[in-house]
């Protein structure tokens, strides 16, 4: 008995280690591809020096920044520094890239979390409704609207929301984070009414796609589950509809929904770029866009690595959760027969 437990622990450890090794390989690959792309984004030197700088000054700066080196060399140098947690100085702002990212991360995370909650809170009941009242006018309407939500580009939704709620109705602000509170390194907008007001439009914009995704997913899963035998048995046992739908059907629908939501949080963080740009939301996405327009290589590289890290960690957590949830993954090869 004890032997089996030890063996299971070891298996788990091996699994985690393997996952970590894969994660590192993924990060390295991302950094490498990023560096290859930087060959084509342009040259920051013309932005760093004004129009009257001499060619010699430009060459000197290029050499000092190591930009004249072939990219494998630049890459090796970057990885060496990154291993020491050092991403260098932003070319555009002359500030440490690491502190820039730390400063911007709360803005992006708060936005993404609120958007994710919004999507879940609205998407779930809407999906359930669309599944249960299939064919009714309202669920048809919801499905049509969700098609719009999936197909409208984010920047258009953002601009439309600004036009309606900021310009025409003047209810909500159109840009920025509003009043902020500094909680020792974590600058939050959650603690003021103004901060929440600033959050509504960008969070809604960001949530629309996720919301429709969740809604459609819940609807499809729910329809699937409602067809299964155990629902039929539940009905046969004479359970009331409420219990059948919410106690049994919805519960079984939630597993894939939670997985997808978790994974989507990663993409919310990574793809808030457009929303942040439209609403001048001072998060990491805006930082990245500004870095691209300046060819601020250290910021771009660090951002891509951080985003890769976010994805890799979320995937890792999800995998580990599977390990916990799904007994089949834990079972040793020999015991398959049970």
């Amino acid at each position: 008995m004890l032997r089996i437990v030890v063996q299971q622990r070891l298996q788990m450890l091996a699994f985690i280690l393997r996952r970590f090794a894969q994660a590192i390989a993924v990060m390295l690959a991302v950094a490498f591809i990023a560096f290859m792309l930087f060959q084509y984004v342009g040259d920051p030197v013309t932005n760093l020096l004004g129009q009257d700088a001499t060619p010699a000054q430009r060459e000197q700066l290029r050499a000092d920044l190591g930009l004249d080196k072939p990219f494998p060399l630049q890459f090796v140098r970057f990885v060496g520094n990154a291993l020491q947690g050092e991403f260098g100085l932003s070319l555009r702002q002359g500030r440490k890239v690491s502190s820039l990212l730390v400063e911007r991360f709360p803005a992006t995370l708060e936005l993404s979390l609120v958007a994710a909650f919004l999507a879940l809170l609205l998407g779930l009941p809407m999906g359930v409704y669309a599944a249960l009242r299939r064919g009714s006018f309202l669920s048809q309407l919801l499905m049509t609207l969700s098609l719009l939500g999936v197909s409208l580009p984010t920047f258009l939704i953002g601009i439309l929301l600004i036009l309606v709620f900021a310009v025409l109705l003047q209810w909500l602000p159109s840009f920025g984070r509003g009043e902020l509170t500094d909680l020792g390194g974590w600058v939050t907008g959650f603690l003021s009414v103004d901060g929440w007001k600033h959050l509504i439009l960008p969070a809604t914009t960001l949530a629309v796609f996720q919301l429709t995704l969740i809604m459609r997913l819940v609807r499809a899963e729910m329809l699937e589950v409602l067809r299964t035998d155990f629902i039929r048995f539940a009905r046969a046992r004479g359970l009331p509809n409420r219990v059948v739908y919410f106690g049994h059907a919805l519960k079984n629908t939630l597993v894939p929904v939670i997985t997808i939501t978790g994974l989507q949080l990663g993409s919310l963080i990574a793809f808030s770029i457009i929303t942040e740009q439209v609403f001048q939301w001072p998060g990491m996405g805006l930082l990245f866009i500004q870095a691209v327009t300046f060819a601020d290589i250290p910021v771009m590289a660090a951002y891509l690595c951080v985003i890769a890290l976010v994805f890799v960690s979320i995937n890792l957590i999800v995998d580990l959760l599977y390990f916990v949830v799904d007994p089949r993954l834990r079972a040793e090869p020999g015991s398959k027969a049970h």
């Binding site: 084509y40 984004v41 342009g42 040259d43 920051p44 030197v45 013309t46 932005n47 760093l48 020096l49 004004g50 129009q51 009257d52 700088a53 001499t54 060619p55 010699a56 000054q57 430009r58 000092d64 920044l65 050092e86 260098g88 100085l89 932003s90 070319l91 555009r92 702002q93 002359g94 500030r95 440490k96 601009i159 600004i162 036009l163 900021a166 310009v167 003047q170 602000p173 159109s174 840009f175 920025g176 984070r177 740009q277 439209v278 609403f279 001048q280 001072p282 805006l286 930082l287 866009i289 500004q290 327009t293 300046f294 060819a295």
Partner: protein, 522 residues
Amino acid sequence: MKLRSWLLALVCISACGWAQAVTLRVANQGDAQSMDPHSLNESLQLTFTSNIYEPLVARDKKLGLSPGLATKWTQTKPTVWRFELRHGVNFQDGTPFTADDVVFSINRAAGPGSDMQSYTSSFKEVRKIDAYTVEIETTTPFPILPDSLTNLYMMSKKWCEDNKATTPVDRRKGIENAASFRANGTGPYRLKERQPSSRTVLVRNGTYWGKVDGNVDEVIFTPIGNAATRVAALLSGEVDLMEPVPLQDVERIKASPALKVMQGPELRTIFLGMDQKRDELLFSNIKGKNPFKDKRVRQAFYQAIDIETIKTRVMRGASLPTALMVGPGVRGFSPEQNKRLPYDVEAAKKLMAEAGYASGFEVGMNCPNDRYVNDADICQAVAANLARIGVKVNLQTETKVSYFPKILRRDTSFYLLGWTPSTYDAHNALSSLIATPNDKGQGQFNLGSYSNPKVDELTVKIQGETDQAKRNAMIKEAFDLHSEDIGHLPLHQQALAWAMKKNIDLTQLPDNYMPYRWVTVK
């Protein structure tokens, strides 16, 4: 009862507060990259920091020279200028401003990490004569030295030393620098809050030595990169003033009863350049020779461009067609010289035929798409114009970060560029854009290598000529020669477009500087 008195108190606080402090909320396309006045020679950076820091020689509302931290300046020898400093000026931290600060600041601007070296490149020595007198000696006679000091701001020696900011931030060494995000100048505003890319707050400096025409006590500056959001922020009343206004939104903002748009000419001149050096163009179907070496071809291009339609359609009226490489407001500009060759497709076709290109040719054109107002659209219009004389333009538009490195490598046959002389003097345009390129930085932006020895000779003479009348005559001659050669194809000066609430009064300067001390909120 209690609630009502509370409310009354609240109303009073907000109303009384409003009456006392005037806040101006400004939005701009971009942000000042740093608070360090020597770190980047770029207009937004310089205009923003000019509210906090000041130069020895300032500019007035007509861009003429006016006393700044120096009250008087004289040229004591052809190579020496003497500056009398203003007495009784304090930095915002209380330390007095003296000659030591001037010597320190100019050396800082001339030193490593600074982007202001072009202004100081001919300085030999900066000397302190006494506590309130400074001399600058140059290697060659420098008649417009005061003009080149208007963007060179004075910092406190003591403050820089205390804050380990004696040089601008060196991005190569990976060490941050306090002067990038803090500031201590002598100017009318002091820096209260700095959040790069999101919010910068300035407040009035109560101990400012000079007179402030405006009434703004606090400025909240926000960069809003997305043009539509910037317009929305103004329309919804979240900002009071913003620039630049996208040209397509000008009418819409004007239609709003509470808002107005101020448009005026900018110093920047937009023009096209052609490779006139290579014996065969890099990007053309004509092999073995370079059609741009033939003046008739250059003239045909010039006369084929329908500049008025570009003005009305592409620029929506917000441009000033030009025949010169410098605009009104730049010293050396003369209105009588500013006469374009007529737009005449038939004449252009004839010139092309005479040059042996009756059926035209193909040429590649390079153009930025995010640097100047509607830059890519201008190039498209030009390409369409040139198609009428048989020239097939292969247009390549791209972002400025890849565009400028490319054209600076002279990896182009036909390109678009805009230029504002940093000294507000024609010599800067002559030496950067028109003089034959050499390895000392001359002709650095003469990317098609136009070359006329007579113009080069004049350019050198203009630099050292102290007699203004003679100097202006030489500038005129140089521009005449350049126009005669059709060295470049000047297009227009683009217009500035600022939008604001109707109760705001301010001075719009053609160099796109916005000093907040000249802003009044009624």
